[in-house]
Amino acid sequence: MNWEAVIGVEVHLRLKTEHKLFCRDRAVFGAAPNTHICPVCIGLPGALPVLNAHAVELALQTALAFGCRINLDSTWARKSYFYPDLPKGYQITQFEKPIATDGRVIFSSSEDKGLVGIRRVHIEEDAGKLLHDKALGASAIDFNRAGTALVEIVTEPDLRTPEDVRSFLGELKQTVEYIGASDCNMEEGNLRVDANVSVRPVGSLELGNKTEIKNVNSFSGIEKALSLEIRRQLSLMKEGGLVNQKTLLWDDHRSELREMRSKEESNDYRYFPEPDLHPLVLSQGQVTAALDSLPELPRDRRYRFKKTYELKDYDADVLTQTATTADYFEDLVGINVDPKVAAKWVTGPLQALMNQHREDAQSIPVRPEIMGELIRLVERGVVSESAAKTVMVILAEDGGSPSDIIEARGLAQERDLGQLTDWVTEVLAKYPEEVSRYRDGELKILGYLVGQVMNSSGGAADPKIVRNLLIDYLNDS
């Protein structure tokens, strides 16, 4: 009998709003504890929530990007439980009528394409943070995070393998980043993932008992955790045992799953409509406007790059990794740089520069117009590729124009035949052994000689001409 895993995922994203969901405190990461709190987000007596409409906009766009159906009338609910990081003793969330339902995400799976149904998307506030390494025998609570805006995305149990889960999450993360709805940084806690997994015989339509996996903080972690748990469930089922429904916590250090001690037999959250807020009412016009304002989504952009610019899959993938990089590339094409050339420069030297400066394509000081100029100079042979990379470094640090820098630093490619011949002759005289080896048939040694000429010229020599000159001279006697 063949078995399959059935996996559903719950993703929490922190929305990239300036303020919290129900008050005007700034939603910041990394600030000193309890410095961004107010009566509302720490639940003082008499305080009341006021909706941050920007959060609704971002959630709406996220839901639309996933092809969801929007509920024009959605409601807020109180979800009650006691925990020190939950100031009011209840969380304001959406229960009965979330802002969106019935969407789908297409992602690239190992077998070509995967499809995941999105069951619901809703908005809710986050709790504070409990820390256990600040005080002995006590919890230390920081409420800076309390009240920040989250969007929760719940999928249908359509995923079948841990690798697919990872791919799906990658697609989801990329899409949300394209919209600008969230920074999707798991380390900063902007993205949290929980998974539900069960197993069943292939062909069966029933669902087995599922376990919930929590506390994962990386995509590789979720892949590992799921693989482990599926293996465990399979061996249990194959022995004729039964999977018990429970919650498992992932321990990244030890790469193992630990059963979470059940707090309450059943969590009775006693949902009821939030009386301090009006229902969330949207007009068709607002939804249409949000839809129109959606940027081109990653999947579509990738496809367009391959078709329109005839790029290889790999290049298209790398270029569309982030919207800013893709924009940069298209800016270059827009000023008439050949797409394949632009692709080479953006995925190669520009990416290296961005990494070095820890900047993205939007903030890197070398703007497309300048980059385009430089590329054209390389194409015309004014400067060699390797010298151009040096120019880029200088441009990033000091600004200026490529031509000025080339002239000031004497980086122009040397093409004067006379000068080149001098360098070549010099090198040939200096390395007689290598010359003999070439003439004896070791043709590969040419590269070494070219390198030596380049060194003598301080990198300024045109390597193509140097190479041809050397071959002429070497073959000549």
């Binding site: 009566p39 409409a53 256990h132 002995l136 919890s139 969330l280």
Partner: protein, 104 residues
């Protein structure tokens, strides 16, 4: 519907309230009396009309939060009203199932 002492016990746990046995008995009596009265709502015909009062269905305004002159910074520092405070943090007893610091 009538409520039992076990119900009261369970509800009290949910609400983090603690009662002595005698108090539970008293509460069971009181609540059953009140619920008996409240059960008259069952006479209300099921259906017609929406339950929730929605006066006007006006669309949520997408305002720029900067325009909204909203809340209140705290007029007193948290340290002044926190029951227990240490170096910028509110302190609370450990939740059940969490080991003391050093082992997460």
């Amino acid at each position: 519907m009538s409520i039992t002492p076990e119900d009261i016990q369970r509800i009290a746990q949910l609400a983090r309230l603690h009662f002595e046995k005698s108090e539970i008995e008293r509460l069971t009596l009181d609540l059953n009396t009140i619920l008996g009265h409240v059960d008259s709502l069952r006479d209300l015909e099921a259906d017609q009309g929406s339950e929730v009062l929605l006066e006007q269905r006006s669309e949520t305004e997408f305002v720029n939060p900067e325009q909204v002159g909203h809340p209140d910074k705290l007029l007193a520092i948290p340290e002044n009203f926190a029951p227990e405070w240490l170096e910028g943090f509110f302190l609370a007893p450990l939740p059940p199932g969490v080991k003391p610091s050093g082992d997460k």
